[in-house]
């Protein structure tokens, strides 16, 4: 459990930036990123949090999410930053929010950010994933051996779709200096940890964030390729 912080407006005399951590399990994993944002806007109001709103004609809550989570994925820890003008303690924020949740979503942490802290999105460096296989879709090869081979290799070059280039390509139209829509990438550099577990799941820690975001699918695909599947 996260330590309890005392959040007190008198001490700061200005709006506070909180970093909220939440988990998402069960059927709610089908709620997409935009809808999760809407969900939390409503949750904040139901919980009676004193959220800071932006200026202008259509004020919105000052809230920013770290990373979108793919539809269908469960998560132990997702993050967003929230500006509030008042809050008694991190525990009070957590309690208020959790007493108005939908089943499967739970706030598990809340800390006060220092003034110079980067926003949630910029703070992301890596993500941990556990990949489990649905019945009938288990890998038909020795995953443990393939993972060991992957870990032992010096590099693993894959082709990753270059989104920027792919977009540009459309606007280039007909020029012969078209940039490739795929770029070569050494996956090894971005996989910080990879192992199999007794329950036949694959655990990985991969680069994440706005710069080099590696989706777990990419790693699994590489493992299947390596196994010759």
């Amino acid at each position: 459990m996260a330590p309890e912080y005392v959040l007190c407006r008198e001490r700061y005399l200005k709006d506070m930036r909180l970093r909220i951590r939440f988990s998402k399990h069960g059927p709610v994993r089908y709620i997409g990123h935009l809808d999760i944002q809407r969900y939390f806007q409503r949750l904040n109001r139901r919980s009676g949090l004193k959220v800071v709103y932006s200026e202008g004609f259509s004020p919105h809550q000052r809230m920013s999410f770290a990373m979108p989570l793919s539809v269908g994925c469960e998560s132990d820890a997702e993050y967003f930053d929230l500006e509030v003008s008042e809050a008694a303690s991190s525990g009070a924020v957590i309690n208020a929010m959790n007493s108005h949740q939908a089943e499967g979503i739970l706030v598990t942490g809340c800390v006060l950010l220092p003034d110079n802290a980067q926003n949630a999105m910029a703070s992301v460096r890596a993500a941990d994933y556990t990949v489990s296989f649905r019945t009938g879709y288990e890998p038909g090869f020795d995953m443990e051996a393939v993972v060991a081979a992957f870990n032992a290799s010096d590099s693993y070059i894959i082709l990753k779709e270059n989104k920027k280039a792919a977009k540009k390509k459309r606007s280039f139209r007909g020029s012969d200096t078209e940039p490739p829509a795929f770029k070569e990438l050494d996956l090894k550099k971005y996989v910080y940890g990879l192992c199999t577990k007794e329950d036949n799941t694959v655990f990985m820690r991969v680069s994440a964030g706005s710069a080099d975001n590696i989706k777990p699918e990419l790693v699994i695909k590489a493992l299947y390729e390596k196994a010759g599947k």
Partner: protein
């Protein structure tokens, strides 16, 4: 954690899987073991539409308040999931428990518009319930197959879908459902059959059991009446009316969807019914008399609902909000209470006048959106025919006020194909739009226009005569005639002096034809619906899935002529299949109104003067204002 009825693979392959997972905020979970009656409440359209409907939320609240009932929600699976469910034989399920609808005690289906009729069949089909009530075993013990019950405005002429339902609930749900549920529980306890329950239910006011009657037709195809097939079948069915709206159930904790739905805000129903009596409007007749909710009730609702949902907008709901006697006071309170809480107030269906504008000024700071007027008809003569108590002067004054206040966009709503409409009435639509645009130039001096061009958008819909309106005798235009009139409006508009400021939109006409048949159809129409469904018709109100060719085929195969239902001006002495329903408003009154419409005579609204429509017998609402109700009204 709850389990979903659909597998991961299916949920990941369909559009908006959130439609099917349930578990929304304020959705109700109960322990099935403690429940006597499981009720599946269905809106036969896609989730986003169905979830926006207030009526279902009211019943959901009312049913779930009972500890012995668990009410869950069901919506039409969208076409992508529909295909998968048929392929893989996955039964339709309710959202809360994710259990198959087939194992429920009731399947309630609300009929909000006629074009959902094939979706009713989709719901029954996917639930594995026999499509026709006659194929559901009357001697089976209760609980074997859900009782299929219909309600909503289209239930006021239930005949076109009568064969698919075990019963209809005519009127306002708040009133009689408890009685019906008690009856079900006691019959089930005694080991009674489906028929036992239906016969008992026939005694409850507002309940109609279609299988207890057999319609009879004249040689010319018109409806002659009906034969009773059951000893307990009553002659008439009186609509259920809720008399104490302030004490009636209301969804103070409405379900909050995860996805964005059409009505995504707190809805305050400020009154039911309407004082106006527009002659084309079914709601204006079937919800008579008008009943207001008190200011205190509404304030309490707003507070509770905002707290329970976290919504950032409150919207008022009623047929004509300006006629609510304390509208200005209510809006003022809402604005003052919520202004600093970042909660918007939206005010639909208001008359545009000074009071309105003052309210608008308090509601939105300086964002000038577009304003909507619904003159419904272009010429004054036609507006008198339909008893739309709005004059050209009202529109000009209203729009002038708006223009002066800085608005530059106006929307105008009209109907085409109204009874007795001439080409002059049709072109008057374009002239009126032009007049509004001109009004802008007259009202706003050049230096204040800031280069903004006034924009007047007119849209027309095609008029469909509805049962229980003074136009229930009227003929409807053919689709070709509709289109000709729409083109005429367009052409006239292009030739107006201010045509650059005018925009015109109209909707397709094939859909209207079908709507016309369903609205005033008889029981024979059910066969056409069944046949069209068999050909794959579904989601007919969605242009992407509406297939007029299949419908034409279905009519041909069933040997029915759509024109018989829509194109005839019906004689005054013709019996209608819906005559057995008593809505309070008498057929006599409707007939008088129909005849007055032919002379373009205006009838005053209920507040100005009672016209003795018949609804006073319910002893509630505006009719109980002392000295209000008169015996008749002079022509």
């Amino acid at each position: 954690m709850r389990k979903t009825a659909l597998s991961d693979e299916i949920l990941l392959s369909v559009e908006h899987p959130e439609r099917y997972i349930g578990g929304e905020i304020n959705s109700v979970q109960k322990n099935k073991e403690d429940i006597a009656v499981r009720f599946a409440m269905c809106f036969p359209d896609v989730y986003e539409i169905g979830m926006s409907h207030l009526g279902i939320q009211i019943l959901y609240e009312m049913f779930n308040k009972r500890t012995d009932v668990w009410c869950e929600r069901v919506y039409s699976p969208w076409l992508d999931l529909d295909r998968i469910m048929r392929e893989k034989h996955i039964p339709l399920f309710a959202l809360e428990s994710q259990d198959p609808v087939r194992c429920f005690d009731f399947l309630g289906i609300t009929l909000q518009y006629e074009m959902c009729y094939t979706n009713v069949l989709q719901i029954l089909d996917l639930s594995d319930i026999p499509l026709k009530a006659s194929e559901r075993d009357p001697d089976a013990p209760l609980g074997e197959c859900p009782i299929v019950i219909g309600g909503g405005p289209c239930a006021y002429n239930p005949e076109p879908v009568a064969p698919f339902f075990d019963m209809f609930y005519i009127g306002e749900g708040e009133r009689r459902y408890d009685e019906l549920l008690e009856l079900y529980i006691s019959v089930k306890k005694q080991g009674g059959t489906r028929l036992d329950f239906l016969e008992g239910a026939a005694h409850i006011e507002g309940i109609y059991i279609p299988s207890f009657y057999k319609p009879v037709y004249n040689d010319d195809g018109t409806y002659a009446g009906r034969e009773k097939l059951d000893r307990y079948a009553p002659d008439r069915v009186v609509k259920a009316v809720c008399t104490g709206l302030d004490d009636a159930p209301y969804p103070l904790k409405p379900v909050v969807p995860f996805i964005k739905v059409t009505q995504d805000r707190v809805v305050l129903e400020i009154q039911r019914g309407c004082i106006r009596g527009c002659r084309f409007c079914q709601a204006g007749m079937i919800y008579r008399p008008v009943r207001e909710k008190s200011l205190d009730t509404l304030k309490g609702y707003a507070k509770a609902m905002v707290e329970a949902t976290g919504d950032d907008e409150i919207s008022l709901s009623s047929l004509s909000s300006s006629d609510y006697s304390k509208i200005a006071e209510l809006v003022k309170w809402l604005v003052e209470t919520y202004k600093d809480k970042f909660i918007n107030i939206s005010l639909p269906s208001l008359r545009i006048d000074h009071v309105f504008l003052e309210m608008m000024e308090t509601v939105q700071d300086s964002k000038k959106g577009s304003l909507t007027f619904a003159p419904e008809a272009g010429s004054q003569r036609m507006r008198d025919v339909i008893n739309k108590g709005i004059t050209e002067e009202d529109i000009m004054q209203g729009s002038a006020i708006c223009f002066t206040a800085g608005y530059s966009k106006v929307k105008l709503y009209f109907m085409l194909g109204l009874p007795g409409e001439t080409d002059e009435d049709v072109t008057a639509i374009a002239h009126l739009a032009n007049g509004v645009a001109m009004n802008y130039f007259d009202t706003v001096p050049k230096e204040e226009r800031k280069g903004i061009r006034v924009q007047v958008t007119s849209s027309t819909s095609f008029f469909v005569p509805k049962p229980f309106t003074p136009f229930q005798w009227s003929a409807m235009d053919t689709p070709d005639e509709f289109l000709r009139k729409a083109h005429l409006v367009n052409e006239t508009m292009e030739n107006e002096p201010n045509h650059k400021s005018l925009k015109y939109q109209y909707h397709e006409s094939d859909l209207s034809k079908l709507e016309g048949v369903f609205a005033r159809g008889d029981r024979r129409v059910a066969e056409v619906i069944l046949t069209a469904y068999g050909k794959g018709c579904m989601y007919d109100s969605w242009t992407e899935s509406f297939d007029s060719v299949k419908w034409d085929e279905a009519f041909r195969e069933c040997g029915l002529d759509a024109g018989f239902y829509t194109l005839r001006e019906r004689p005054l002495d013709e019996s209608f299949p819906w005559d057995f329903i008593d809505i309070g408003v008498t057929k006599d009154f409707l007939e008088k109104e129909y005849l007055r419409s032919k002379e373009a005579l205006i009838t005053p609204n209920c507040r100005d003067k009672c016209s003795g429509c018949g609804a006073a017998r319910f002893g509630t609402g505006i009719c109980t204002v002392p000295g209000k109700v008169s015996e008749g009204y002079e022509a």
